[in-house]
């Protein structure tokens, strides 16, 4: 390299360095790594408690009581000529589908080794992990390398009579001797990070709430097409041929989950504060 071209190259690189680093605008936010301190397992556990509460309300108070008061529920509930609502597994699927529309990359699935629909049959790694889950009844957490998703599996337990009644009677069911408190399957949660921020956790909770709300709203939309729709308002199916409005349903759901969710969020918030204080050498918050 001649002396002239050396100086030109040096000058160009110098200008480029000043352009890119000295006079540069603020760096782009690397969102995926900012202030994440909460293990994703804790977020999954929180979300699963919320999901389990929603499933219990749907199964016991809408499907179970609704059947007694004349409402129908079916796997083909979306068919135009069928006046029915989604079965509990399909209510979860509606919730999960709504969640997928959100920019938060949170996924939820329900599966089993004896599903009514063969589409929900566990296979491979998921089946192996489900066996451990079924025996220990402890949530299982693992990483799926090809998708880069951190995964949590939680037991789906037969908590209400309608669960076992429907599965034992259903002609497509491969198992007809379910009992209350059996592990019927598992809910699988997936998220693309091993640690999350408190903000990420709050967003995930909001996305789940929105999913539950959308699933119930979809059912109410279907109900409005019935020849003789139930009255939608303050009352629940246990009172007769009624359905709670969207607001009443969500209020009941939030009342039940708040007792658990708010203290957990408080603990996560405190642990974040403690981490910050530790970093700055101060005493921690109890």
């Amino acid at each position: 390299m001649t002396s002239k071209s050396f100086w030109i190259t040096l000058f160009t690189l110098g200008c480029l360095g000043i352009y890119l680093f000295v006079s540069a605008p603020p760096p782009l936010d690397d969102k995926k790594t900012r202030q994440a301190t909460i293990p994703v397992e804790q977020m999954f556990t929180l979300l699963q408690a919320e999901n389990a509460a929603a499933r219990l309300i749907w199964t016991r108070e809408i499907v179970g009581e609704g059947k007694k008061s004349g409402l129908k529920f079916d796997e083909h509930w979306r068919d135009a000529d069928l006046e029915a609502g989604p079965l509990p597994a399909l209510f979860l699927r509606e919730t999960a589908k709504s969640m997928e529309k959100s920019p938060v990359r949170l996924s939820l699935f329900l599966g089993s080794e004896y599903p009514i629909s063969p589409d929900n049959l566990f296979e491979g790694l998921q089946q192996e992990i489900f066996q451990v889950l079924r025996q220990t009844q402890q949530a299982q957490f693992f990483y799926v390398p090809d998708t880069g998703l951190h995964t949590g599996m939680f037991a789906d337990i037969a908590v209400a009579a309608p669960c076992i009644e429907c599965h034992n009677k259903h002609e497509q069911s491969p198992k007809h001797d379910w009992h209350l408190n059996d592990v019927m399957g598992a809910a699988t949660w997936m998220y693309p990070a091993s640690v999350v921020t408190l903000e990420d956790t709050l967003k995930a909770v909001m996305v789940l709430h929105q999913g539950i709300q959308d699933a119930y709203a979809a059912y109410l939309e279907k109900v409005k097409t019935f020849a003789h729709p139930p009255v939608i308002g303050e009352h629940w199916p246990r009172d007769g041929y009624y359905l709670p409005s969207l607001e009443v349903f969500m209020q009941a759901f939030l009342q039940r989950t708040a007792q658990h969710t708010l203290p957990v969020l408080g603990t996560l918030s405190n642990s974040r504060q403690n981490n910050k204080l530790k970093e700055s050498g101060h005493d921690t918050v109890e």
Partner: protein
């Protein structure tokens, strides 16, 4: 042999002229009205009226911030690469128009761990695995028998078909699946009861390549852009 400066003058002029013409042509071609000249290929069926920006959206930050972020990544000062120029086209771009409440095979479902083999063979978790854009087709996957990746164990208790599904599976007649079922389940149609009546593979291949739908024209949901155009 070294040419004299006088001999080089017209040569330099030609270079300069070429550069100017090149820049002008490039500037004109970059105008939105000439998008089709710099696309990678013809738009897929039904996408003729889409503009480039419908899918190719600007990446966050200025060009300088993007260069800076990627240099920081190269120097180990940043954990993730930043999009440069345009954001990567993703499922979300497709679903902005094609999301449907009744999709029988929504892409996200294939993210579940149990679909590992399907992901290895087909990548069905990505829209573009079957609908690669700029190919001038509808479905860019050539083979029809891809159902084999997930449905080897499919059994129906009340099978409506004259040759039961488990028999067809045992015979490995995977090309017959699409003869009755459209993958996303968006067509309103009655499935056939006799295998002899199913849609022949050639018609399905023609449909994949952009031809008329052998499943009929009644669809449960239209893509959002189509609805807006109506």
């Amino acid at each position: 042999m070294i040419k004299s400066t006088a001999t080089r003058k017209p040569q330099h002029l030609a270079y300069k002229l070429g550069i100017i013409i090149g820049i002008v042509c490039l500037a004109v071609l970059l105008l939105p009205a000439y998008d089709k000249f710099h696309a990678r290929g013809p738009m897929n069926t039904g996408h003729d009226t889409l503009k480039c920006v419908s899918c190719h959206q600007d990446a966050p930050g200025s060009l300088r911030q993007q260069i800076q972020a990627n240099l920081r990544f190269a120097l180990g000062l940043r954990e993730h690469l930043a999009d440069f120029g345009h954001q990567a086209v993703s499922n979300e771009n497709c679903l902005d128009c094609h999301e449907r409440p009744n999709d029988r095979h929504p892409v996200y479902r294939f993210l579940e761990p149990r679909f590992l083999k399907a992901r290895e063979n087909l990548s069905p978790q990505l829209c573009v695995s079957c609908h690669t854009e700029h190919k001038g087709q509808r479905v860019t996957r050539a083979e029809l028998g891809y159902c084999v990746n997930c449905h080897k164990k499919t059994r129906l208790r009340k099978d409506p078909l004259d040759v039961p599904h488990d028999r067809l599976i045992a015979l490995k007649r995977w090309e017959s699946c699409l003869g009755c079922h459209d993958f996303h389940g968006n067509h309103i149609m009655k499935t056939k009861k006799a295998v002899e009546q199913i849609i022949p593979a050639e018609k399905i291949r023609a449909y994949f390549q952009g031809g008329a739908s052998p499943y009929g024209d009644d669809r449960r949901y239209k893509a959002k852009k189509e609805v807006n155009d109506d």
